[in-house]
Structure formats: structure tokens, C-alpha cells
Amino acid sequence: MMRQIRSALARITGLFAGHREDDDLREEMHAHLDMETAENIRRGMHPDAARRQAMLSAGGLTVAAEAVRDQRGLPWVEGVVADLRYAIRTLRRSRAFTTVVVVTLALGIGANTAIFSVVRGVLLKPLPHRDGSRLVYLRQSMDGPAGTNVGFSVPEIRDFRDGARTLGGIAEYSPFTFTLQGDNDAIRVDVGLVTGNYFEVMGLSPILGRLTRPSDDGAGVPPVMVLTHDYWMKRFGGDSSIVGTHVTLDGKSVTVIGVLQPAPFFPDRIDALLNMVISEHHVSAMMVQGRTHRMTEMVARLAPGATVEQARTEVAAVYARMQGDFKDAYDAGSHYRVAVIPFKEALGERARLTLWLLMGAAAFVMIISAANVVNLTLMRGVGREHELVVRAALGAGSARLRRLLLVENLVLTLMGAFVGVLIALGGVRLLISLAERYSSRADEIRLDSAVLGFTFALSVGLAVLLSFAALLPKEGTIASIISAGVRRISGSLSKHRVQRGLVVAQIAVSVVLLAGAGLLTRTMVQLSNVNTGLRAEEVLTMQIPLVTVAELLSGVGDASAKDRYDRMRREVGALPGVTQVGIGGTMPLRNSQVVFDVKADGKALAVGEAMPRAEFRTANPEYFQAAGIPVLKGRAFAATDRMGSGRVVVINQTLADKFFPNDDPIGKRIAWSGDVLRFTPISGDWRTIVGVVGNTQDGGLDAKPGSVVFMPFAQELAMGGGLVIRTDSSAASLIVPATRVVRRIAPTAPIENVMTVAQIKDQSVAPRRLNAALVSLLGILAVIIAAVGIAGVLAFSVSARTNEIGIRMSLGADRGRVQRMILKEGGALLAIGLVSGVAGAFFAASVIRGLLFGVAPHDPITFIGVAMMMGAIGIAACWIPARRAARIDPAIAMRA
């Protein structure tokens, strides 16, 4: 061991030993020679012969010196350093080549690094939770509106806890909203009400103070609050003295007990976590015993040794037993079901398709830029053939030449990677804003060592690929090339299969990218053209929740709230330019999230038919006009529809078609129904339909409008509330005066989502627009690189064939014919590329089907358009070298 270390050290110092050691060696060898010569003379040889004999037995001084030098230092390192110096020198000499290659690589590597950092942050990185891979998210769903995630009730969770052995612990989490009273403002905070075991099960620790524990469960304990890391930073500026202080939530004093480590939440981002006692409702018998009172999210930790598969089987069995025992709670027609999803997957599920789409697009750009660089290298390789042959003739083995190329290519790709990472640094910021729409893990995105490792591996892989793409002079052919004594003239492209193949691949991949970009762009256009169902010229909306969720559930504070809403209506209505002010529980183009079973008088459900459900919305008489929702039949609400008068409703077209496909709905009666009404202050009385209004795209522009029941704002509970302000001037200019009026009437209430209807609509299109823009950007990048690729390869072919073209021209070929010949050569590649590209795009389009709207995955307009565009660009790229070929002067060409 000592011996190895000692000799390694000696070799490393040997690296830096310079000429002195070489002089020493020379002297030593010459001494040897002299002594041997002297000995030979002593034996009677002629001095000349003696010297010659001595030289012969030495076996070549230079070779020996080289062998000693190899032994003395680390020959590999010395060689690489020399290669590196040489590579930098050559690359600096061919500056144009270097720039093109580095820029091409930087674009590809930059796009891939940026997008990979997002994929890693959102989808791949292990969760910050202790043993986060053991966490599973349970989701109960049903058919129909708002059915994707209905949550769980406390009795259901109890059954799972008792019945499913594979779930080691179940964390309960009930999303809730409070108003946090600040010194001079009030804001809404989104919180989770959690059980005491929550943090233990989730595997999360505090960074300050403590977390809730089982002793914080139940009624009769003080309410406590744990801040999420994000909210602590955002609202309290990371002030650690916040722990132990009191804040006021919905008028109640709550102690801040700690700050949680950074962690993502699902399904929604939240600001803080509290024990249940803050909400009387959550500790009431209604909540704790009502099986249909589903307000809770469930995350479970797998029991030691249990797999997700086992948990799925067991949960399904327990769930089937529950459905058998409580038939009323699970409407058979609505197909209630429970899914068990690894928590990490659940966190990434909305982002997955989009991110893999972008990753795929970026990988395609990488392929195209790598292909381009390979082509450039190959062309340069032909120019360098002579140099490489000479090197081979001077004794460089092919491994040695390979290493030289590898070092050169490493310099190129690492330079590309460096610039690429700079590009990625800028791109990541844009991508984080995209990811935030899809995942609460967006703040985990960063260019960390794993991402940089990925980039480095990518660059090294590329360099290896590039080095092996180049053809080295074959051992046997060296002599013939050298003896020919001339630079070999390479023939037409047909001799360069690799280059042709790469050009075809570039075109094909560009077509796939363009087709994807085209489909996504058309999706976005289709989406913006969707009729929202409203006349939305200049309409401003704002939400002012005067009633807290807790008050809402208990039904108190309603009357005074309604008075204040009505004052807002009158005073905002008096502002100049305002034509109508509507009041409603939910703003147009937004989901109310409040959905109940609904039944029609005299209409029985068919066997197995799903229980109809409808969104609960409230509106004052002016709401429909202000929002621009057309009244199709009957009337809107009137001032006479008040508390105490006959209960009336207005329904939308979807519900009218569902209940009364053949009759006039006006005058018919409907009622809310279902067990869950018990937990609300809403009555299940019959209500008479007085009007039918048009459908609006409340669930997003790409969703089919669901059933909606409007009830008079004055007659029913004000489920939240907001203003819909129509003006004949600019809606945006009303923001300041309208907010001022509202602030005066409700000084402490939060004012939220102050947005014009146009902005709300745009919000629904924005993520798609970003998708389309990003993929289009990558597509355009690909096309540019591919066009450069085609032009470059053809230009190379032309210059290599200059001699041949000269001969053809002198034999009578005219310029047009030469030009056609080159065009044909490029055209053939273009055609093959287009055909394979369209085939690839057909496949790719069905993969991204889920991201499309209003466009068939194999939309002919897109495909034809893309093929024509690529064709046109391709022909343009062929044109330049073809013209150059036609301008060749045969006399000069042949003399050269």
C-alpha cells in the first residue's frame, strides 16, 4: 500500500518536472552509450563500428526517453493536457465553427436543463416528508358535477382506520377558510384543520416551536395554529418572534405555536394548519357522525411492509363493505369510488402530462441540435482528414486520435453546457410560473447539483457521441492516402449515409414539434373563441366575503351582511358610468363549489340513474343583466322575491333540458335533496321555477356547462357574496372608485379577486397559452436549427462536388440542370423527412390528446399546414446551396 502511494506521489510530482529531468535523462543515456562504445573499442572494434553497435543495442534513444517519461509522470494526464491545449488552439482558429456549435448546443442544453429542473422539482425529487414514498393520498370520487374529489366524512375515515391494516396511520385534513384580522386590513387565509396525529403521520417537523399533537384534539382545548413555511415568509417575513403570539381569526384569538418545515400541500396550497376546535362545526356531532358530511382530505402512511397494491385491495374491500352497510350514503347511479395514489404522484398529477410534453419537446430540440453538431463535425472531419492521416502516419494510434477528438468535443460541449446553463437560469423563472399553476411543489424547482449533474452527463454523452461519429483513417488505408499525396475528393452525398440520415431525422423531428405546437396553438385559439354564455363587454367583479364560513354553516350574521351588500349595490351603482350592479354568491365564469342533489316535482329517477346534482348560486334581480346572462324563458328575479315570499328559483338551460326536455319548465317545482342538507341551513322545500337562463362556462372554457340553480339573494342565505358591476365605460377604470366605496361600507372585510370578466376568461386560457407558446418556441428553434442543417449539408456536398459539377458543366450541363440536381438531392431528403415526421406526429398527437380542446389529435388542417411550412422552409434551405452550385465556373472548378 505504502509503495503504491509513494509511487503515485512520485508520478504526480513527475508531472511538473520539466526540462531538468529530461536533461538528466539524456546525459545518463549518453553516458551509457559512451561506456558501451568504450567497451566495444576495448574489445577491438573500430570506433565507428563500436559506436554503431552501441546505438543498435540501445534500441532507439527517443523511444527509450519516451518510455521513461511515461514511467516518470502520468502519461495520460500529460497527453490530455497537451490535447486540451491543442483543441483550444484549433477551435480558436475555426471561430465560426466553434460559435455555431456552441450556440446550437447551448440552446439544446439550456432548454433541457431548464425543463429537467422543473420535472425533477415537481415530479421526481423525493418528498421532504420523512419516508415520503410511504405516503398515499386517498380520493373519493363520483360521477357528475364537482365529483372528481368529494372528500371523506369522519365516519368514513373511522371505518378505514378500523378496517384497513395496510394503512399504518391516517392523517385527516379539512380545508377551511378564515379571515385574518390585521392592523388595518383583513385577508383570507386558507387553512387545514387537522387532527393531532397529522404531522406524525405526514412525517413533518417544525422549524420553530411545536406542531399540533393528539392533546390538541376535540372540544374544550385552546385553538392553536402552525404556519406553513411559505406563509410565514410571505406574511410575517420569517420573523421567529411570531411563535407564541396571538392572531385573530374570524374574531377568535388563536396562538401561533410553530412554523412547519417547507412542504408541499395537496390538493391546494395552504397558509396554516390549526386544530379542529377553532371551528365549532368540526367538533359538532353533525360533523363527527354524519356519513355524507364529506369535508375532509385523507393522507395515509403505509403500514411497515405493506405495498400500495395491498393497500388498494384492502381499501377497496373496506369501501365495498361500507357501501353495503350504508346504501343511502352512496347513490348507486353516481358510481362512488375511492382511489389510492402515492402522495408524490398525487402532487404531480396535474403537471405530469404538460411537463413530460415539454421534456419531450426539449429532448427533440436536443436531438436536432446534436444532429446538427454531428453533421458540422463530420464536415469539418472531412476537411481534417489530411491532418488526421498525417498524425496516424507519424505513429498516433487510433485510440490516441480518438482521445484528441474526444477532448476537442468535450471542450465544445462543456462550453455549450456553460452557456446553456446561463440560458436555463433565465428560463427556469418562466417555467416556475407555469409550474405554479399545476403543482404546489413549484417552489422546490431549482438548478441544484442533480440538475447540473444531468447537464454535465448530457454534455459528456454528447461529446462521446460526436467523437465516435467522426470517421478515423483506417489503419490499412493510411499508406494509400499518403502515397496519393493529394487531398481526397469526397463524392456526392450518397457516400455520406450518416449525414443524410441525420438531415432526415432533423426534418422529421421538426415536423413532430411543429405539429405539436400547431395543435396546442389551435387548442388555445379554439378555447378563446368559446362562447362564455355572457355578454361580457365591460364588467368588473369583486368578491367581498362578509360572512365567514363558520357563520355560514351556523346561519348567523346573514341579515346584517345582506344590508351591507345592498348598500354597496346602491352606492357603487351611483358611481359615474355604472349601469347595473348585481349581487351574487358566485361570480360569473367561476365555480361555486357548492353542489347538492336536486329533484323535480313528479319526476322519478330511472333505476340506476345517477342522482341529479346542481350548483347552488344566488343572485339579486340585477345580477343576470349585469353579468350579461340572457333570460331565455320566464323572468329574472324581482324585488318581490324576498324573505318570506313564495320560494322561487331560476335554473339554467342544462338543468331545464335535463328535467323538462319536452315541457315548459316555468311554474314547475324543484327542491334540494340529500342527506347532506342536514348539515346546512338550506331548506329542502319545493321552489317554483320562474325563469330559465342561458348556460355559462363556469367550470372553465373547456368544460361542459353543468346544472345550475339560482336562488334570490334576498330570499336565501348569502353564500359569500360579490358585486358584478356593468359599465358603459371601461371596467378597469372602476377598480379604484368601486373598491373605495366597498372599503367604506365594510372596513375590515377582505376584498378579493377584483377582476374584469375578460380577465377571468383569460385566466382560463392562460395556462394553455403558455403551453402553446413554449412548445411553439421549441418548435421554431427546431426548425431554424434543422434549416441550417439542411443548408449546411447541401453546401458541403456542393463544395465537395465542385470538381464533378465542373466536369458536368463542361460536358454540356447547363446551370438550371445543375441547380435541379442539387435541389433534387435536398428534395429527396426533405420528402423522406416530411413523411416520417408526419407519421411521428400522428403518434405524438395521440399522446398529448389530453391537452387538446376543440381540435382532433389528427387535425388535417394542422398537419397539412405544418408539412407545407416545413416543406417551404426546407426548399428555401436547399435553394441557397443549389444556386451556389449553379454559379460554379467550370474552368475554375476543374483547374482547382
Binding site: 543515456m29 527509450a64 514511467q71
Partner: protein, 114 residues
């Protein structure tokens, strides 16, 4: 020339160490001559074989080198054995003897044949 042998890998170091043990400090030429003589000229050593081996032994600390005037008053580099080299020589020699015995036993004509 058919009876000339190439020096086997690993045996050269042993020969050099042994030569230095027997003859004391010696220059490269002397080492080469001595090895050739001992092998009755069946081995030839060119510089490309000898000098890297000497450098390696020096790196491993088994020999040291210094410049001294040679017998014919020319400056030459003399190599001498170190304590570590002496130990290494003993170790390698005994290894070699054991290996040689083993191989000899293997290649010995079987009793029946004899």
C-alpha cells in the same frame, strides 16, 4: 538470435535489485552488462526496457540514485539499494523460489514415465 529471450514482466526488477545487492552502487550501463553476462547473453536489455524499470524502482523507494564520476571519469548516475529495496529483494526472491519450485514440480516427468 533464436535463443535470445525477452525479459519477462516483473523479473527485471528482481534482477536489478539482485545486481545492486551483489555489486553495490552501479550505473545503468553496469546493470545492463551484468544482467546480460549473468544470463550468458541470452537476455538483451535495450534502454527502453532498462531505464523505465530503474525509474519505477526509484519511485517505489527501493533504489536511490546519485551522480558520481565513473571509472573512466565520466559523470554517470549510480543506483544503490535502499533498506526497503533490500527487504523487497528478500521477499521477491523467496516468492520467486517458491513459484519456481511449484512450476518445476508441475513440469517434472511423472514417476511412471521415468
Amino acid at each position: 538470435m533464436a535463443d535470445k529471450l525477452e525479459v519477462k514482466q516483473g523479473t527485471l526488477a528482481l534482477m536489478i535489485l539482485r545486481t545492486l545487492e551483489v555489486l553495490g552502487p552501479l550505473h545503468g550501463y553496469g546493470v545492463a552488462r551484468r544482467i546480460e553476462e549473468t544470463s550468458k547473453n541470452r537476455l538483451t536489455l535495450n534502454y527502453g526496457t532498462l531505464y523505465p524499470a530503474l525509474v519505477k524502482l526509484e519511485q517505489e523507494g527501493f533504489v536511490t540514485a546519485e551522480w558520481r564520476p565513473s571509472e573512466n571519469n565520466r559523470r554517470a548516475k549510480f543506483y544503490s539499494l535502499t533498506a526497503a529495496g533490500r527487504k523487497q529483494l528478500a521477499r521477491e526472491a523467496s516468492d520467486w523460489h517458491r513459484t519456481a519450485d511449484l512450476i518445476a514440480a508441475f513440469l517434472a516427468p511423472r514417476r511412471e514415465e521415468a
